[in-house]
């Protein structure tokens, strides 16, 4: 028996929300257009009226809406985050996705009826941490950090009484989420506080002796010869020198893809699959969501899954099972 996995899909804007719903999403997740969410890129996300409209559209199609308020509120300036929680409750989203303990506390006290999920940014990677958030804030679902192996996820689910959601496809943080200041070390803009990693505003490409250097802030993240396609300088997917060797020290440019391990994830007790990519356009969202819709439906009926269908959408054309595979470590 396989329980059917809930498909949680990215909606970076109203067009992507529509695309995700049409392609078969069970749930969409999105954020307000400000620093309160971890995909605070220019031109992305939702205004209050857009969210209200999006929730109406999604609910009409029996699709749930989750609002990510998953950055860490700035000290002395917590009101935008609290306002986001208040507005989420008023607009009627199905749950909020939170990371900060103070904000979890606020939401629990102020809107006890508003369902709370724990964001991956909280980095709750073990039984005691998860129980802490369940007991203190009655969270109903935990998005697991991308650090755990499949056996660890199985063991975890056996011991906790809360839904778990795991990343299924797209960009891959190689560091524990919500605990990485690499990008802010280089740019001054913090993923935890401002909700953006390796921001485009700090990216430069420079010619140097026939090589194209990609830079983030003052630091060179990669260099490409004429015949190499130049990638975006995401800090942890860069090439660096250590001990006399040049390599992708942290991770190659690659995408997570779990299409060929859906039965194992269901077996491990996972409730929901999350597709990364609120910064992606509607064509990408349509294609990935449709492929996962088909695969989840097939897997739930014990049928084989076509797993190679999304290779052309993967970063650098490469895919990985990430930390789910023990060898990744």
């Amino acid at each position: 028996m396989n329980r059917k996995l809930e498909l949680v899909c990215p909606a970076g804007n109203p067009a992507a929300l529509r695309a995700a719903v049409e392609a078969g999403a069970d749930t969409v997740y999105l954020g307000f257009r400000d620093e309160t969410n971890a995909r605070n890129f220019p031109g992305l996300n939702f205004s209050r009226p857009e969210l209200r409209h999006g929730v109406g559209y999604a609910h009409d199609n029996n699709v749930k809406v989750l609002l990510a308020i998953n950055t860490y509120p700035t000290a002395g300036h917590q009101s935008p985050w609290r306002q986001a929680v208040d507005d989420a409750a008023e607009i009627g989203v199905d749950a909020v996705i939170l990371a900060d303990i103070g904000l979890c506390d606020y939401a629990t006290r102020t809107h006890p009826g508003l369902r709370r999920h724990l964001s991956v940014q909280a980095s709750a990677s073990n039984v005691e941490s998860i129980r802490f958030y369940v007991e203190a804030f009655d969270v109903k679902r935990v998005v697991l950090p991308r650090v755990l192996t499949l056996p660890e996820i199985t063991a975890l689910n056996a011991k906790i009484d809360v839904e778990t959601e795991v990343f299924a496809f797209g960009g891959l943080c190689v560091m524990a989420e919500g605990r990485c200041s690499l990008s802010s070390y280089v740019t001054g803009i913090s993923p935890n506080k401002e909700g953006v990693c390796s921001p485009a505003s700090h990216v430069r490409y420079e010619d140097q002796d026939g090589r194209l250097l990609s830079k983030l802030g003052e630091f060179t993240i990669n260099a490409f010869s004429d015949n190499e396609p130049a990638g975006y300088p995401t800090l942890c997917k860069g090439r660096f020198k250590a001990d006399g060797t040049t390599s992708y020290l942290f991770e190659e440019p690659t995408s997570l893809n779990v299409l060929d391990m859906l039965p194992e994830l269901a077996e491990a007790g996972v409730s929901a699959l999350k597709i990364e990519g609120r910064q992606r356009g509607k064509a990408y969202v349509s294609q990935v969501v449709a492929a996962f819709r088909k695969a989840v439906d097939a897997a739930s009926q014990g049928q084989p899954v076509e797993s190679a269908v999304l290779m052309d959408l993967s970063e650098g054309g490469r895919e990985t099972a990430g930390a789910y595979d023990k060898e990744w470590r």
Partner: protein
């Protein structure tokens, strides 16, 4: 509170030093360092801990005998049952003050006095107050916080709870399930052969055009630059911060503790401290950017 009442803490050794080197380092800290508190315990990788188990008892005893407060630091990233058990065992031992470096430790220590380590995200007064309500009596704030956030968290903080800020040492920028030391040797984490022990101050990582960038320490990625908040000590005290953390590097930490103590006691000025630090570590650049709200890698001169 006068500057003379300010306290210095020595953070845990993050690197995989040999047990002998590790023990001797702490013995010398016990005998000679100008610090009030000393954090002891493996924070980065659970595979290293068994090496320190035979000597940690002697280290704690020596530190206590010399009047230092001993704080036991827990792992920053806990994934396996074995790692959970390590934290559970530590928390069950009621005799020591424990520094929680992940939420599981916070949870296990709830209801009794404890320290919140710098690996727990305390970005605002809402989180501060929740944790104080659970028994946090000292909070070492995240290194990423700018001055105005530190001031806002210090403002209105419960009188019984001390706030601490790292003023010296490499910045622990990230932690991962993956071991980059092992990866750079084309080994997996499970068969790592403890190659991280080759680099007692971390493995230098440069950009492709040769700029010093990061330091890899097993699963941890540190800044190559060394944070130095010297001129900022007065600002921090004015905000209400009276405890300062020095994070050990493979250098003369005793001299460094004395240097900071002398500045706090008004016997030396921050500029002289910076010159002394530079003399001690000529190859290492300094940074203070996070405090000033800019790139963490930057060093901003006073008045700049």
């Amino acid at each position: 509170m006068s500057a003379a009442n300010c306290k210095l803490s020595l953070g845990p050794v993050m690197f995989n030093w040999s047990p002998e080197k590790w023990r001797d380092f702490y013995f010398r800290i016990a005998d000679e360092a100008a610090v009030d508190s000393v954090c002891v315990g493996e924070v980065v990788c659970s595979k290293r801990q068994p090496f320190f188990d035979p000597v940690i008892g002697d280290v704690i005893e020596r530190l206590q005998r010399s009047g230092k407060e001993v704080v036991l630091s827990t792992l920053a990233l806990i994934m396996s049952q074995r790692e959970s058990n390590m934290v559970r065992d530590l928390a069950a031992d009621g005799g020591y003050l424990i520094e929680a470096n992940d939420i599981s430790a916070v949870s296990l220590l709830s209801g009794r006095d404890h320290v919140i380590g710098p690996f727990v995200n305390v970005y605002n007064e809402g989180t501060r107050d929740f944790l104080i309500g659970r028994g946090a009596r000292r909070i070492c704030l995240p290194f990423e916080l700018p001055a105005d956030s530190i001031a806002a968290i210090a403002n209105g903080c419960d009188q019984q709870t001390e706030l601490e800020v790292q003023v010296f040492g490499r910045l622990p920028l990230a932690i991962s399930a993956r071991c980059y030391h092992a990866r750079s040797y084309e080994l997996s984490k499970d068969s790592c052969q403890f190659v991280c022990a080759e680099d007692p101050d971390g493995m230098a990582v440069d950009t492709l055009d040769g700029t010093p960038f990061l330091n890899v320490n097993g699963t941890q990625t540190l800044s190559r630059s060394c944070r130095v908040l010297g001129g900022e000590l007065t600002d921090l005290q004015n905000m209400g911060i009276h405890r300062f953390r020095l994070s050990p590097m493979d250098t003369d930490m005793v001299a460094i503790t004395r240097g900071f103590r002398n500045v706090l006691d008004g016997e030396d000025d921050p500029e002289a401290l910076r010159r002394d630090l530079h003399e001690l570590m000529p190859a290492i650049s300094f940074s203070n950017g996070f405090f000033h709200g800019v790139e963490g890698s930057v060093y901003r001169e006073r008045g700049e």
